[in-house]
Amino acid sequence: MILLSFPDAMPVEGLIGGLMIGVAAAVMLLGLGRIAGVSGLAARAIGLAGSGPPRGLAMAFIIGLPLGALLVTLFFGPVESRFADNWVTLIIGGLLVGFGTRLGSGCTSGHGVCGMSRLSRRSIIATSLFMTAGFATVAFMRIAGLL
């Protein structure tokens, strides 16, 4: 399906992929009683979180991410993965994402998907702030001619 005004959008794939993400988070919640928050699980998996699930669980979830991705490419062919082509952007972006998600106790998955659907006040505020900061940052980059 093509959205006429937005030729690049993938609404159907987005919705189906989103449902898969939601079911995955539901499996974590109802199966293991845990939040499927990637920043927290990643930090736990590499030993950078003082609390959280047993490290084996965190590692299994994090290793599952690329395995699931490979399965999709196996069945549906290669997918686009267009990263910034300069290392300064990647390093500054990575530092801010790593530091910010840990300081703010969550990212797009933990606050965005799990917390918002729980109607957590903290998650709704965190998600509003990182969304707003994301929009503002890209708008600034566009004004500054960086895009």
């Binding site: 599952g64 530092l95 900061a133």
Partner: protein, 136 residues
């Protein structure tokens, strides 16, 4: 062992969903944040799609005494709003805007586009380490 298998399954399905929905493409995610450019609304569909099963799961969770494969739920109980939450969210959002990447797609990127993903993930881990050891 059963818990490990469930976590692996959940991670796998999560990674598959990120990939199928196009969210592993940083340029597409940045396109969603680019309101004044060639805006790409796909991310909104992904978020909406993910909310549906999770809203149901929370409703079910409230009626359960314990999860299916553990003795009890271990869920965030903090309700206090503090500066860390706000500053962390804002800094994450700036990094997300700059790069088009949040942690899940960054990890998946290690197999889809290894070199740039490796640089980003190394910096992300460094950022996490700084938070762990410098912020009290």
């Amino acid at each position: 062992m059963r818990q490990i298998a469930i976590a692996l399954l959940a991670g796998g399905l999560f990674g598959a969903g990120l990939t199928y929905s196009g969210m592993v493409d940083p340029a597409r995610v940045q396109g969603f944040l680019d309101l004044f450019g060639n805006w790409d609304p796909t991310l909104a569909f992904v978020m909406g799609g993910a909310m549906i099963p999770m809203a149901i799961a929370w409703a079910v969770q409230r009626r359960m005494k314990a999860p299916l494969a553990d003795a009890h739920f271990t869920l965030p109980g903090t309700t206090q709003l503090d500066a860390k939450l706000a500053i962390g969210g804002l800094l994450f959002g700036i990094g997300w805007g700059i790069s088009g990447l949040c942690p899940g797609p960054a990890v998946v990127g290690l197999v889809l586009n290894p070199w740039p993903a490796l640089i980003f993930v190394a910096a992300m881990v460094a950022g996490m380490a700084v938070e762990r050891f410098a912020v009290k």
